[in-house]
């Protein structure tokens, strides 16, 4: 082993081309706040990597008549005025190999989890890339199950879709994303969680939960924490997307969570203001829309001729006081294929996930649902909408007609049934079974306050004794007459036991 290493070193030294070449250089005129202004470097390209004499590395961002604005990625504290810098001829890229799965890396692909270098032959994936064209894509048709009943039934997500998760702070946005990742176990989906400007303690907790549930076996975490330079927060989503593209090119399905793009926009604003780009609305630079649109457009479902892989994006946006009409939220809403809107009021009422079904939408819709789910969830949205309208009249219980009372009761049961604890995603056949019981009126005799208990015991019953019903749904993916007969039998059998 030692001889092989020595021979290899000797060969590399012998092959080493050390001839001096004339290179274009720049000189640092000013540096501070993670940005350096250089004179010279007349032929540097935009987004080209620049290396400083001190070893610091940056990216050329502002190309002006007589100076270049460079965003420093590492070693900012070592950059001094007057030192030289040279363009490397390389664009920013992240090294990726299959062994990156299960690892925690920073925005430049360097490992952060203390487990050594990432093994395998690494491919350099460009951080910035033109999104797949129209011809290379196919329409989204394959479900990405989140395991959350309310979402899979009412706001279904497909592989290749961009579904925004939006809401105020502490409404469960990250919880929805993490539950989705946990539910991808055994689904042949590579998950990438991009933490942008998050507290290190929060990221550590998330990694711990994912590891505890075996999710780190198929997940990559890209972290640019709150204590990292804004440049890394700005690049982290692009790095996550580049890692996703590596797997998509192999024909695999990828889920990327960007948590969150509000902090990403803040980081970009900070860098742009220090680079003295003209501020626009809310002091964001004029191209803040393009920063997000070019990122999210790289999520796609590729057709068979181009591998058939997909990247599904779950960007997260934090609103202030529920204002979805603010600048960044409206930008991202217009880019994505739907939004999951989480409300503080619902959260504090105990409705968790705190989904506002009225304001949430999936533009892909039932194309991303199996037929069985369509059959049981079809009327659920209407039932809930009617319930919301009639809820105000609930206080006049004794004065309402039977039909209205029935709608209100059904709505209350639906709201109760759609509640779900964190880290408890359900497989789609269990979701279908539970929603079948609701939609066919099998829960009408169960008191509203006992719905959660009913569900817990029903699922235990199905897992222990009702496997035939679950198997039938899993295999057929629709509620045919035969499957429905089996399922109905199980529901009635359980209801008798529950009533006793």
């Amino acid at each position: 082993m030692a001889n092989t290493l020595i021979d290899e070193l000797k060969r590399q030294i012998a092959d080493f081309d050390h001839a001096a070449k004339k290179e274009k250089i720049g000189r640092v005129m000013e540096t501070g706040d993670g940005v350096a202004r250089l004179s010279g470097l007349s032929d540097v390209a935009s987004s080209e990597i620049v290396e400083f004499e001190s070893g610091a590395v940056g990216v050329a961002q502002n190309l002006e008549e007589s100076e270049v604005g460079v965003m420093i990625l590492s070693g900012a504290e070592s950059v001094k005025e007057g030192e030289t810098a040279k363009a490397t001829g390389r664009l920013l890229s992240v090294p990726v190999s299959d062994a990156i799965v299960g690892r925690v890396v920073n925005a430049l692909g360097a490992p952060l989890d203390g487990r050594g270098e990432i093994a395998g032959e690494r491919k350099l994936m460009p951080m910035e890339k033109i999104a797949p064209g129209v011809i290379t894509r196919e329409s989204v048709h394959e479900p990405l199950q989140t395991g959350i009943k309310a979402i899979d039934a009412l706001i279904p997500i497909g592989r290749g879709q961009r579904e925004l998760i939006i809401g105020d702070r502490q409404t469960g946005k990250t919880a929805v994303a993490i539950d989705t990742i946990v539910n991808q176990k055994g689904q042949d989906v590579i998950c990438i969680y991009v933490a942008i400007g998050q507290k290190e303690s929060k990221v550590a907790r998330i990694i711990g939960e994912l590891a505890k549930r075996g999710a780190m076996d198929y997940t990559v975490v890209v972290s640019a924490g709150a204590s990292e330079p804004a440049a890394l927060s700005f690049l982290a989503p692009y790095a996550g997307c580049a890692i996703g593209e590596y797997f998509m090119e192999q024909g695999k399905d990828v889920l990327v969570v960007y948590d969150d793009l509000s902090k990403h926009a803040w980081a970009y604003r900070q860098i742009a203001l220090i680079l003295r780009r003209p501020p626009g609305r809310e002091a964001y630079p004029g191209d803040v829309f393009y920063v997000h649109s070019r990122l999210l457009e790289r999520s796609a479902k590729m057709d068979r001729n181009h591998g058939g892989g997909s990247i599904t994006a779950l960007p997260i946006i934090e609103t202030q006081a529920g204002d979805v009409s603010a600048y960044i939220p409206t930008n991202v809403i217009s880019i994505t294929d739907g939004q999951i809107y989480l409300e503080s009021d619902l959260f504090y009422k105990g409705i968790r996930p705190a989904l506002n079904v009225g304001l949430s939408v999936s533009r892909v819709g039932s194309a991303a649902q199996i037929k069985a789910m369509k059959q049981v969830a079809g009327t659920l949205r209407l039932d809930l909408a009617q319930f919301r309208e009639l809820e105000a009249f609930a206080q006049f219980g004794s004065d309402l007609d039977e039909g209205t009372k029935r709608l209100i009761d059904r709505g209350r049961r639906a709201v109760e049934l759609l509640k779900q604890p964190q880290y408890a995603p359900l497989v789609v056949e269990e979701e279908v079974a539970v929603l079948y019981a609701l939609s066919r009126g099998h829960l009408d005799a169960v008191p509203t306050e006992k719905i959660r208990e009913w569900e817990e015991e029903f699922l235990s019953f199905l897992r222990a004794e009702g496997g035939d019903a679950l198997d039938a749904i899993r295999e057929k993916k629709e509620l045919s007459e035969e499957v429905e007969k089996v399922l109905k039998g199980r529901v009635e059998e359980f209801n008798k036991r529950f009533a006793m």
Partner: protein
């Protein structure tokens, strides 16, 4: 309208071309700069102006850095090397000792560099071995 340092430097170059009294041009320009609050931009303006003047006169300021002090013969050899590396220019050479370079020589103009230092070779060899 805000002008860039480069535009001011070009204007100063045009003014100074064929000027009979360079001192008067300089003091007028400084007075203008003070009046229009350009004092912060002055270092940039002068740096660009110096580069433009030299380029116009076919000159080039070159800093030759070595890890240790060079004797007369070595300086002559370095001068010839500089002329070969930057042909067609009248070179204004400045010799600097920079022990940080470890060995070899580095020639720096305002926007070009020839780096034949041991430090660069060692760094490139390190990155090549690391992969």
């Amino acid at each position: 309208m805000r002008l860039t340092a480069s535009q001011y430097a070009k204007a100063l170059l045009a003014l100074s071309a064929g000027a009979e009294d360079p001192k008067r041009v300089a003091s007028s320009f400084l007075s203008y700069a003070r009046k229009n609050r350009l004092t912060k931009k002055l270092p940039d303006i002068l740096r660009i102006f110096e580069g433009l003047s030299e380029a116009k006169a076919g000159k080039l300021s070159l800093s030759i850095e070595t890890a240790r002090s060079a004797d007369a013969a070595e300086r002559e050899a370095l001068g010839r090397l500089a002329e070969a590396s930057f042909p067609g220019k009248k070179l204004l050479l400045r010799y600097v000792v920079n022990a940080d370079l470890v060995g070899g020589v580095r020639m720096l103009s305002s926007d070009e560099m020839v780096d034949a230092t041991a430090k660069r070779r060692l760094r490139e060899l390190e990155s090549r071995i690391k992969g």
